[in-house]
Symmetry: C2
């Protein structure tokens, strides 16, 4: 992919807009790519959504989300695997080459380190199915404040370790600025993920304060918070990553606006805060 216009709008950045209108508004704004969510696609059905994005000439940078693979019981685990196969089918139908994997959390009494170590084998069970569908599974390290309830993977280096341990070259990693910006090893980890050809998605949003009562909703529009997009974006660009840059921003202010305004706000900040750092400067 060598698109000049690499901004992608994640559907949950505009989640108050129904699926069909979302696709239409993004295309009308001259944006070329979207990140879709399964439950929002389900409003109109996968086939219809696939047709709409195709007719609009949009790329689908990712489908959110598979995962939640840490069920306590064998039955729960089988159900999770089945659901992930459906997610892979949907990604294939939608033309999304990447399925974002939020791997799941803990039951009380479990050891996080032991749960983490179950991830590679579970991912290995899904990877051949995903490969047959032309879909790459992208492990998403989430901010450590979600380690107990959403994702036992908290750093990029650990996501890379677990992806490699799956034994499948197709399995990769999502770099989401909100989740990883604080990590003292973040720049090295991005370089290593790039070298391993496993950098599958770059998602951007800012870290706003104070935290929202639901911390999932503390994401800010780039430039409104504390993240240095220069360092992170430069590191991503230096790996040779040429995919879309997906704005994934769960933010009540954004959701309260008409979509034309929220798209304009996000695009303007992408252009001023993120895009300038996508240029790879030659070493002198």
């Amino acid at each position: 992919m060598t698109a000049e216009n690499r901004l992608s709008i994640n559907q949950w950045s505009m989640r108050t807009t129904p699926c069909e209108q979302f696709i239409g508004a993004v295309a009308a704004a001259g944006i070329e790519s979207v990140g879709l969510w399964r439950q929002n696609v389900a409003e109109i059905g996968t086939q219809r959504a696939a047709r709409l994005v195709q007719d609009a000439g949009l790329r689908v940078s990712s489908l959110c989300r598979g995962g939640f693979l840490t069920a306590a019981t064998p039955a729960g685990r089988r159900a999770a695997l089945d659901d992930n196969r459906r997610a892979i089918d949907e990604a294939h139908q939608l033309g999304a080459g990447v399925l974002v994997m939020v791997v799941g959390g803990l039951e009380r009494g479990w050891s996080i380190s032991r749960v983490r170590d179950t991830i590679p084998q579970t991912i290995a069970e899904l990877a051949p199915y995903a490969e047959d569908a032309g879909v790459r599974l992208a492990l998403e390290p989430m901010h450590p404040m979600f380690a107990a309830d959403r994702a036992v993977i908290s750093t990029l280096a650990d996501a890379l370790r677990l992806a490699e341990a799956s034994g499948h070259r197709s399995v990769g990693v999502v770099v989401d600025t909100y989740h990883v910006w604080w990590d003292p090893q973040v720049l090295d980890a991005i370089a290593m993920i790039g070298s391993a050809d496993r950098l599958l998605s770059y998602q951007v949003s800012d870290w706003n304060l104070p935290l929202a009562p639901d911390p999932l909703l503390s994401r800010g529009v780039m430039g409104d918070g504390y993240i240095d997009f220069s360092e992170l974006t430069t590191a991503v660009a230096a790996t040779g990553y040429s995919g879309d840059i997906e704005a994934e921003i769960f933010n009540a202010d954004l959701w309260a606006m008409p979509i034309t305004e929220s798209l304009a706000w996000v695009r303007s900040r992408y252009e001023s805060v993120v895009r300038p750092h996508l240029v790879v400067r030659p070493h002198l």
Copy 2:
């Protein structure tokens, strides 16, 4: 220190109890150590607090807290250094061998990696003063959800790196379960900090869900949340750490109880959830 009775009660675990009553209640409960807070000590003055803990025969496992060294202006930085020298004086007067350092956060527009790299030099300015007072400065990595507003140090490995970069052997690290439990490198980092003779404090509380509206108050009593105290405590014990184990729990339920009940609750959980793992098992 080879005390059998190594539980210490951090003053903010009982913060609704005034300083003098806190010291009295801890001693009356047969607990031998306290972690004090500067602002609570200030209620009665350092001299009087020092006399009370001495008369009660208590150890002072730490004084909270110095730090906030990342001011934007030279004047702000000088004021912070002055305040930290006063904190060192107070630690000395109270007989606390350890001053906990919460190093400070970011202004918007700053790069977290550049701010982190200012820490060793600032700590190096304080360390000789602390050494003269017989006080060790203990860098506290905080949970990454506080990286922007409280502490740019988010992992134990990074705290060790910065302590070593200060050039002072007296500078060390706090291991607080709430802040570090999620870290995939936590066990290796504890071992390295122990090998470097820089493990200065072990603080315990649990990770409860849902997060409290103020995430500082989400700490739970050990056994109520998601942290595996077996792994972490075994790793701390394996370093040879022989200091106190400080229960530092900011929790509204605990604060609403009479102090005799809250002390009994914390001690009972320390005995059942933490203490059994302090025994170092010989390698077979």
